[in-house]
Symmetry: C2
Subunit: 353 residues, 2 copies
């Protein structure tokens, strides 16, 4: 550590994102991107932004994009916050809404960026163990807390939590914010967006990186009561006035407006997932029930580390977590195209033979 670093900088344990390999011809099933490209309407909107107006600052409030998102969910623009990827939205959420005297609660096996945000902003937290079947049990969260956050479906397990359980948690937890991180919700889980008008402590976070096939554009959003959104805006306006560039605002709005393309894309991935789950099961994998665009699977005989390495030798990249030890046997496999999934299954068949 350099003498010039702040104590904060020296004390951090940064997040390690999934690998973004620069090699071509890989079957890339490691970071849950869409195997299909974005909406043609989004591409047309992006193309239209290439020009001299790029010399001008973008709209600092992303009004047009927030209106599209509000219309999609039948909310008001004042209930919508947008950011540079859902990671930025989550970062602002931790600082604006989850930093209190009591600890924030989140699952022990979940998106591993949550404890990193707590480190960045000096927020106390407590990790709540998933059940033996890797499920979130909402009763375990009914304890004094400074906020609650979990993905639904959870990552990297893919398991969804029912809307009735989420509502049961909200009813018993009125005094602190409950964040439902719905990065993967469009692939089969029940969204909590419909509860936003009834629970002022509910914040729902989405991303365009998965079901809108725009991971390369970096945009995420939060939906919630206008008072929660205002807190996020206050932090955003104390950090970066213009977090979304002109391309992001135009392309994201067009992607949200193209509901038909979005629904078709989700349906294709859900169909491929069903085949993938069945093929993996036939090879001896135990696959957790997934409502996401990935599956979390362990083999009855072979370890996760070994399988991930052997797939890699065959130019197939999946995600493997060494920690916590409980999930070491698992592979997290993105649902790719049918052809990519077939290549994965063929490779696994050879490896397991």
């Amino acid at each position: 550590m350099s003498r010039y670093w702040s104590k904060v900088a020296g004390g951090l344990t940064p997040y390690v994102p999934g690998e973004q390999p620069k090699l071509p011809n890989l079957v890339k099933l490691n970071t849950n991107e869409s195997p299909y490209g974005p909406s043609p309407r989004a591409l047309a909107a992006l193309r239209a932004e290439v020009g001299d107006t790029l010399r001008l600052y973008p709209d600092p409030n992303s009004d047009r994009l927030r209106e599209s998102i509000a219309a999609f969910y039948k909310l008001k623009p004042a209930q919508v916050f947008v950011g540079n990827g859902s990671d930025e939205v989550l970062a602002h959420t931790f600082l604006a809404l989850l930093k209190h005297d009591e600890p924030v609660l989140f699952p022990d096996i979940t998106y591993s960026f949550y404890p990193v945000y707590c480190g960045l902003y000096d927020i106390d937290y407590r990790q709540v163990p998933l059940t033996e079947s890797f499920e979130i049990c909402v009763d375990d969260y009914m304890t004094p807390n400074g906020g609650i956050i979990f993905p639904n479906p959870n990552a990297p397990t893919g398991r969804p939590l029912s809307l009735s359980e989420i509502e049961r948690l909200l009813r018993s937890n009125a005094e602190s914010v409950v964040v439902v991180d719905e990065a993967y919700v469009d692939f089969g889980a029940e969204s909590a967006v419909g509860l936003v008008d009834r629970y002022p402590q509910l914040l729902v976070v989405h991303t365009l990186s998965k079901s809108r096939a725009l991971a390369g554009l970096r945009v995420g959003y939060a939906l919630g009561d206008a008072e929660l959104i205002e807190a996020l805006c206050r932090v955003k306006d104390s950090f970066n006035s213009y977090p979304l560039d002109r391309f992001v605002q135009a392309g994201a709005a067009a992607a949200i407006d193209d509901r038909a393309y979005f629904e078709q894309l989700c349906a294709k991935i859900i169909a491929t997932r069903a085949r993938l789950v069945s093929d993996l099961a036939s090879l001896g994998f135990d696959v957790l029930p997934s409502a996401a665009n990935f599956v979390f699977a362990r083999h009855s005989q072979r370890g996760g580390t070994e399988l991930a390495a052997k797939l890699r030798e065959r130019s197939i990249i999946v995600r493997h977590f060494k920690n916590p030890p409980r999930i070491e046997p698992f592979l997290r496999i993105t649902v790719g195209t049918d052809a990519q999934c077939a290549a994965l299954i063929a490779a696994l068949r050879t490896i397991l033979a």
Copy 2:
């Protein structure tokens, strides 16, 4: 304040950016954008990014862009940090390098985002008054501090500080970081980039929003010793793994590579500035010596509030700061095209008649 807000969110006084009006046909001289569009090579690179690969995450480390910036300044990529606008770069800088026990020092009249960052991250600061002629006096900064930051040229005054004075400050201030915010340096001030290899406490911050005509793309960068850059990376990787989207990385690299276009653009603005200064002087304005793409001018008879309002009635927008009272008489006027500056002068002539 809502009961759900953190103390941090409740205590903030957010930055207020210059207005981004949605009306067409304005002469917009209020936020120091380039009056000319970006490099055609940047536009071509942006156009090439429109496609299915937007489904994939961008390079989290922006290697290609960092290599272009390093090559431009004859530095190593490890001496380059990039962010979502220089505002994000500055935010990370405050948290990673300027949060210490002693207060950060910056001028009393300067970029008004600096105290906002201090509020966001609970950093103690002390504002050092400019001289009567609105200059930075480096002797005033030779006191125990947790870091020093100032723009060069300063904003909103436009006055530059000489490289020899900056080096004198660096020699006497080895124990804390000195940040030179060179957002406007390309329009006539001396850059401190050449000192980076000799002073491990020096961080130089740039933006593509001004001299590269890409305010709509949101990209800024910091140049400094690899140890300083590492601290910024640690904060960035604890906040958002992928702050720069695929468009930004491609377009910004192409803009940096196009040195000829950049030099031509700066030369045009410098030439227009000379005429603007002389025209303003002939109308009775006192114009501070500017090394930026804006001028800071006060009229001998008329107040800044009045002049800004009357210009606005004529669809000409300039920036006016009510505080501190010392700068109330001034207008900050972006150097536009020759035609825009002529329209401004004609309007002022009518107003002052």
